[in-house]
Amino acid sequence: MIAIAAGVTLIAVAAALVLNAFQGNVVFFFSPSQVAAKEAPLDRTFRVGGMVEKGSLKRRADGLTVEFIVTDTARSIPVVYTGILPDLFKEGKGVVAQGKLAPDGAFHASEVLAKHDENYMPPEAAHALSKAEAEKTAKSVRPGATR
């Protein structure tokens, strides 16, 4: 009896831990188009991904803070990050940034991810690009369509 009670308690505790951790720590992903459409939260950490726009990387005077633009070819979002960029961060390549949206509309990244292989696109970034691409094609097929 006591063993069963202990087991049930344990499972309840574990479930509570899991739910609580999920609530606080799951990070959602948004594409630049979604951010532009104000779908992304203002006060919560999320991920944004796409391609680093060519020629957009700028370094501030402190030498550590960088600014670049992430685009899904339809819309784009400026990103600010202080720190060392990962090895495979490159203009024209896929990137995912995690951070918060500032009131000025820029995305303040606490983490920038670019993965281990030049042919490999972070899945979220690839997803954002292909979605924007699909929407563009849909629009060009139906030029008169209104939303």
Binding site: V26, G63, E124
Partner: protein, 654 residues
Amino acid sequence: MIPELGHFALIVALAIALVQGTLPFLGAAKKIPGLVAVARPAAQGQFVFVAIAFGCLAWAFYSNDFSVLNVATNSNSRLPAPYRIAATWGSHEGSLLLWVMMLSLWMLAVSVFSRSLPQEMLARILGVMGLIAVGFLSFMLFTSNPFERLLPAAADGRDLNPLLQDPGMVFHPPMLYMGYVGFSVAFAFAIAALIDGRLDATWARWSRPWTTAAWVFLTIGIALGSFWAYYELGWGGWWFWDPVENASFMPWLIGTALIHSLAVTEKRGAFKSWTVLLAIVAFSLSLLGTFLVRSGVLTSVHAFATDPKRGVFILGFLALVVGGSLALYAWRASKVSPGGMFELLSRESMLLANSVLLIVACAAVLLGTLYPLFLDALGMGKISVGPPYFESVFAPLMAPAILLAGIGPLVAWRKGDGTEVLRRLRWTAIIVLAAALFVPLLFGRWALLTSFGLLLAFWILGGALTALIVRLRSRTGITSAFAGMLLAHAGIGVFVIGVTLVKSYETERDIRMQPGDTAGLGGYSFRFDGVREVSGPNYAAARGTITVLRDGQTVAQLAPEKRVYLVQRNPMTEAAIDAGISRDVYVALGEAVGNDAWTVRVHIKPFIRWIWIGCLMMAFGGVLAASDRRYRIAARRQDDASGADASVMRSGAA
């Protein structure tokens, strides 16, 4: 010619595996000695042919045979020889071949070292392993042939991913796979015993050293992977809770539960069906890990959906193995006799609680790993579940397990004496508590979580030490199994000390530095002496020189590099580390930002080495436990647990 030979050897191995997976079962069921006797030579023959195939692929890599697609995509003539050999398992196809190679090694070992097993039992064990081999060999031959030709041949190869060009690549995958696949032995023992209906203490005794051996390899493999990620990725982290890591960690958690549950089954004849279930789950998680890593679902569930052949094959195989073995379990487990009874306070109940905690923790890891994949597959949005989730769930579940592990070795089997345990542990408890409260002050910053982490670590160390003293006083002698258990528990303590101190006191800083600049961190100062160009066998590098000083004295000269590999043209950070028992000083180059200035990242990692030292202690404890004399003499005596109860009751090693 040689690649075709390898391909042919794989086909022969598949044919042998088919024989090995059928005839011995038939022989054991119908009592035909001729068919039973097939198992052993079949296993050994299969090993020979898989080894030939493996040798052929390794040769193709070593001799730069770029007419083989696999070699052309994963190697290069300028790649140094050890990495060319390691590139054999650098690709999807090659790592599957390594998987099968390890499986046939384990089969060979079982066929050689289990001469004392009853013939029919051995036939069934090797039969189950033969069936697993059938699954993987046909997966390889039908979807992922490592010997596929490329015509016309490439002039040179596309090179091995620079991240993999490291000694870690030579040792980590074979160790990890040896552990992963090693659980197939425990699985085969469990299935054979279920078919046979002979689930008893003798079965547990046979199965124990094999399970422990697999666990040892997996422990070393995971630790090597963690160490490699630490120094190679340039971020100074040692565990990322990334799905690939979790895939190897989940079988480890269940394997740990299995080792402990097997101890109860051997000593007390209890938990039999529980043990069998754990053996099934441990191996199923190994297969799930293979599926996660090999099917492409992690890169993108959509990649998986567009080229589903590989993924569907493993998923199907996984369903077959899990479903089949669980069905067998459901059918047979009810016939298993219940084992010895035990009281609420007893070593049995402690071990049961621990294995439940390990399973729940494993389930939480599984949930965090698979949930994003499910959401994505169902088109319900993209999320990522990162380290904060895993840390906030895993640590609270493991804390009670560690507290129990400190007490467990002091509690008697069947019926523990509460006051006795309390009396033995009271001084340990007081000293441990005082030390845990005081030690953080030495680091200049006290925090509740730091103190708690240290409390857990000191507690398990103190518990092991107390158990050792009690045993020495009682003059019953120390078996190597008992010493192994204590060493492994102490290893957890050392590991937890490392984790706690790194988490609490690590510091890092990103700095822009010009030659001659000095920056400080954690009592050290770092002087940047500039960067010069150097060239390696297949890369060009910018090598920085950073002098680390403390109180004006030079501590170390570090040479971090930024490499560009000639073929794939990717930059690669090569960190430089001044290692020490009480701290690592870790330096990595960022990028050139003009005027000879570079961005530099420096870390101080207190006591980080203790993390891997702890893992090695656990592994070495496992080696001691598996080499206990009784496993070698057990076969001759054939005694079962009920006869040995009296002597084991107080002295038993977990």
